[in-house]
């Protein structure tokens, strides 16, 4: 069989297409703020980061896949040290200490931590002795994911920390019992219901369900105790959610959650961003207002409109066509990456590529969900589109490393059979 280093053109084209939308959106969102050509201001810097990305991509493709595999843990440890370092020497911007200043540039190690964690989890799970059905290995995997998440929370950037939950999908794919997912989803359901109807009613409903359930299955004595325990656990969880919500979370965090769940009408306060975002996107109509013609974008009504809320510009100027199209492109990229993961012959590569797809999926879901009012406001960027060097570089590294692994899949086949 012929061995050939071939890049997956479908992914590459999707990457380039999304990158162009990103540059155009950043340009549109900033063109009135002093930068008047594509090459100036934020769009110019965005282009520069893409230039750096291309350079990094070439470097990645010049390196042997095995290089990454060997150095996986070094990447991880190195980035963890960087996260710790940020806590001490980082620059504080907008309330979180998550930036490292290097000359005139600021880097956000949290963005790169995903890259290191993907390597580490891939290296760990591909180890011949590791199985997620073993409690020890499960805890280790949890620690690999949890350490960066905790360090990032310590920086005060809860949104970026949440991104690490996308690795649960990776663990699930690699054999984690679905119970974890079921428990997780149940927890989210209870959380939402607690917020909406309160612990009291929720407890009543749970007890009613328990009563009905037991009246049908009381003959099966084995089920009685676990179902009672489950019900009590649900109620207890609900109480703790209530407690955490009112006692632990800060007021602005409480409000964000309440606004998302439509429990609070506060268009000028916590809901301001989302409200303006919805207005911008909603006013785009089917066709959009046209490139550079978004009055809401131009009017600077949306906070963070080049970063977290960049999707508003696409929605306003491109209308439904372009916003749905952007989601389509992302969906295709994610599915393509999942497919690349699937066709990887080595577990290490599969886990890594799968992680990349899952991270993008998580970012997409949370970021766009937030701008259209389906998710609480969590400040994470839209991959490849939001302005920001760290984010662009991190996602480029993730994607090109995945593509590098995919490109050399035939070698793996050979090595297996030779």
């Amino acid at each position: 069989m012929e061995t050939k280093t071939r890049i997956d053109f479908i992914s590459l084209l999707l990457y380039l297409f999304i990158a162009c939308i990103g540059i155009a959106s950043v340009y549109s969102a900033t063109s009135e703020q002093g930068a008047f050509t594509l090459l100036e201001g934020r769009s110019g810097r965005q282009l520069m980061w893409y230039g750096v990305s291309v350079f990094l991509a070439i470097v990645i493709f010049l390196l042997n896949s095995e290089f990454f595999e060997v150095f996986s843990w070094y990447f991880y440890i190195g980035l963890m040290l960087l996260l710790v370092a940020v806590l001490f020497v980082g620059a504080e911007i907008a309330g979180s200490r998550s930036w490292l200043k290097i000359g005139s540039f600021s880097l956000q190690p949290a963005e790169f931590a995903k890259y290191g964690t993907a390597f580490a989890i891939a290296a760990f799970l591909s180890h011949i002795d590791v199985s997620l059905s073993k409690r020890k290995d499960l805890l280790t995997a949890g620690a690999i994911i949890g350490i960066p998440a905790v360090l990032i929370i310590l920086q005060g950037d809860a949104g970026s920390a949440l991104v690490f939950s996308s690795f649960i999908l990776v663990l699930y794919r690699e054999g984690l019992t679905p119970l974890v997912l079921v428990l997780g989803l149940t927890a989210i359901l209870i959380f939402v219901l607690t917020m909406v109807i309160g612990t009291g009613i929720l407890a009543g409903i749970v007890l009613a369900i328990l009563g009905v359930f037991l009246s049908f299955t009381y003959t099966n004595k084995k089920i009685i105790l676990p179902s009672i325990i489950a019900a009590v656990a649900c109620i207890a969880f609900s109480f703790s959610v209530q407690y955490i919500f009112s006692e632990v979370l800060q007021e602005h965090q409480q409000k964000r959650i309440q606004v998302t769940l439509n429990l609070l009408e506060d268009p000028q306060g916590a809901g301001y961003n989302v409200n303006q975002a919805k207005i911008a996107i909603g006013s785009g109509g089917f066709n959009g207002k046209g490139f550079l013609k978004g009055s809401h974008t131009k009017g600077d009504f949306i906070p963070e409109q080049t970063t977290d809320f960049i999707f508003c510009t696409i929605g306003e100027e491109g209308g439904w066509l372009w916003s749905a199209g952007t989601i389509l492109l992302f969906t295709l990229l994610i599915l393509r990456l999942y497919w690349l993961a699937h066709r990887a012959k080595k577990k290490y590569k599969r886990v890594f590529i799968f992680s990349v797809a899952s991270i993008i999926f998580f970012h997409l879901t949370v970021n766009i969900g937030m701008t259209i009012g389906l998710m609480p406001v969590i400040g994470i960027p839209l991959p490849l589109i939001s302005y920001g060097g760290s984010s662009i570089l991190a996602f480029s590294l993730l994607i090109f490393t995945a593509l590098r692994f995919d490109a050399s899949r035939d070698e793996d086949l050979q090595s297996v059979f030779s």
């Binding site: 699930y172 009017g299 749905a324």
Partner: protein, 612 residues
Amino acid sequence: MLSRRSYYIYAAVLIVAMIYVYRLFQLQVLDDKYAVLADKISLRKQTIYPQRGLIFDRNKKLLVYNEPVRDLMVSVPFQIEGIDTSLLCELIGIDTTEFRERLERAEKNAYQRKAVFLKNVSNKIYARIHERLFEFKGFFFEIRQDRNYKYVSSAHVLGFLGEVSRSDLESQESDYYEQGDFVGKKGVEQFYEEFLRGEKGEKYIYIDKLGTSKGSYQDGRLDIEPVDGNDLILTIDIALQEYGEQLLQNKMGSMVAIQPKTGEILALISSPFYNPRNFNIQNRSEFYGKAAVNPTKPLFNRAVSAPYPPGSTFKPLMALVALQDGAINPGTHFPCPGFYRLGGRIIRCHGHPSPTSLERSIASSCNTFYCHTFRTMMQLDKYEDTEAAYRSWYNYLQSFGLGRALGIDVNGESKGWLKDAEFYDRMHGKGSWIYANIISLSFGQGELGFTPMQMANIAATIANRGYFYTPHVIKSISGVDTIPSKYTEKHQTLVEEKYFNAVIEGMKLVTISGTAAHVAIEGIQIAGKTGTVQNPHGKNHSAYMAFAPADDPEIAIAVVVEESGYGATWAAPMAHLMIEKYMFPDSTTKKQYLEERLMNADLIPEKYKNGN
């Protein structure tokens, strides 16, 4: 082969994508409220105010012109970050407490996401701030047209502008006016508002959240250019008007001069008057309150709003009505012993030769003659009873424009007092009143009241020998061919032309050998009639009406000077000087001593001066 778990994950990705795409469809395509909201937030309609029409006098002298006023506006909601508020406060001369108060008020009154922060910014403050305005994002100026005046004159005729009131806004038929617009409030500014105002223009612009313009909306396709207002040429002769104002200064009273052949009002003066410059938008708040509580009522347009009993100035009209009705004829004489006895009551006259002819009765202002005349008319055989006779008398007067608003184009017109027969029915009981109850009407007292405008119109009607045109101050409107048709319609009275000669002869005698002979004007034959109006509240009102030249009248005039004394002392000489001024505008009067005495006299009773 894909594992089941992989399928689940693919499905999850697709489900999220579908939910989001549908949600976007819902926001962007199905629900159009967001487009409306977006425009509401980021679109602003800027009103472009047209130039209001200018106002000229009959000789094309500019009276009223426009002067821009600037309001400092603030965008709402206001973003205070990055603004040096203490510097701004210093520049516009307020303190930070006031700054906060004004901001709060602005946010309450915001319309189109903006509100007035500081009204009528003075030129001094404007010069200080406008070059640095870029430092104060969210603040901008809006320019509107205020009025200014070439002459400190004619305030009551011209009226003034004011901000449109809430009730005006609610009752307007179209939705032309918006809160904060200026609208004519009085005088011709109000009456000819629709011509003067022009049409506002509109400009739609996008704004950012600081309220700064971000360019035009739809490339200006929806923008509307403003249309400037029509200029007005008034019938007022500003030289005559100013002269009259000088004569009436420091007096309470009024003068109206009309060109009889056209009904054009040459001068319309109410005194005390006010400086129109003090009543433009910029200055009014400073002066209005004081003027409004001034006991001499400078804001009150006596010329059209104040009815006075005409007193003896009514006699020529009384004679005309009696002539037409057949109660007297030009040769009628009545004896006058110096009084008229009415049962136990005596109505006094004053010393003059007896018996009195019609002409002499006017020249000497004989009360007895008119008591006889009135009694005769009320008891004419053709009338069933006094009431029928009174109705006839009433109709004659109505045909002279009395007892009703004439329909002039200056607001605030009073109907005057002219009671119908029903009034006396109510007062005395039906059928139980006779001439004796109402005899004082015959010499212009009792339940009779004419505004100076109505008196001047009587003079004009007599000058015309029986007809009048509704008095008006509009001569022409630029861009419009005609003036309102009601000002070109001839109103014929019920008294035929042939009866006027005898009366006019009598009025001529007034200035030859009668009550106003001492102030006759050389070279102009004036027909006039003095009046001394009894005033239960103080000194008599001095009244006079006249027209000249008597045989080819060019000017008719009525003058009332409140609480001053005899008609012959004040009103008559003033009217004569006005006539002289109008007939010989370029030469100074030979009666300079008279002019001086009149101009310098302060006839405002002390009680009004000391009043609070």
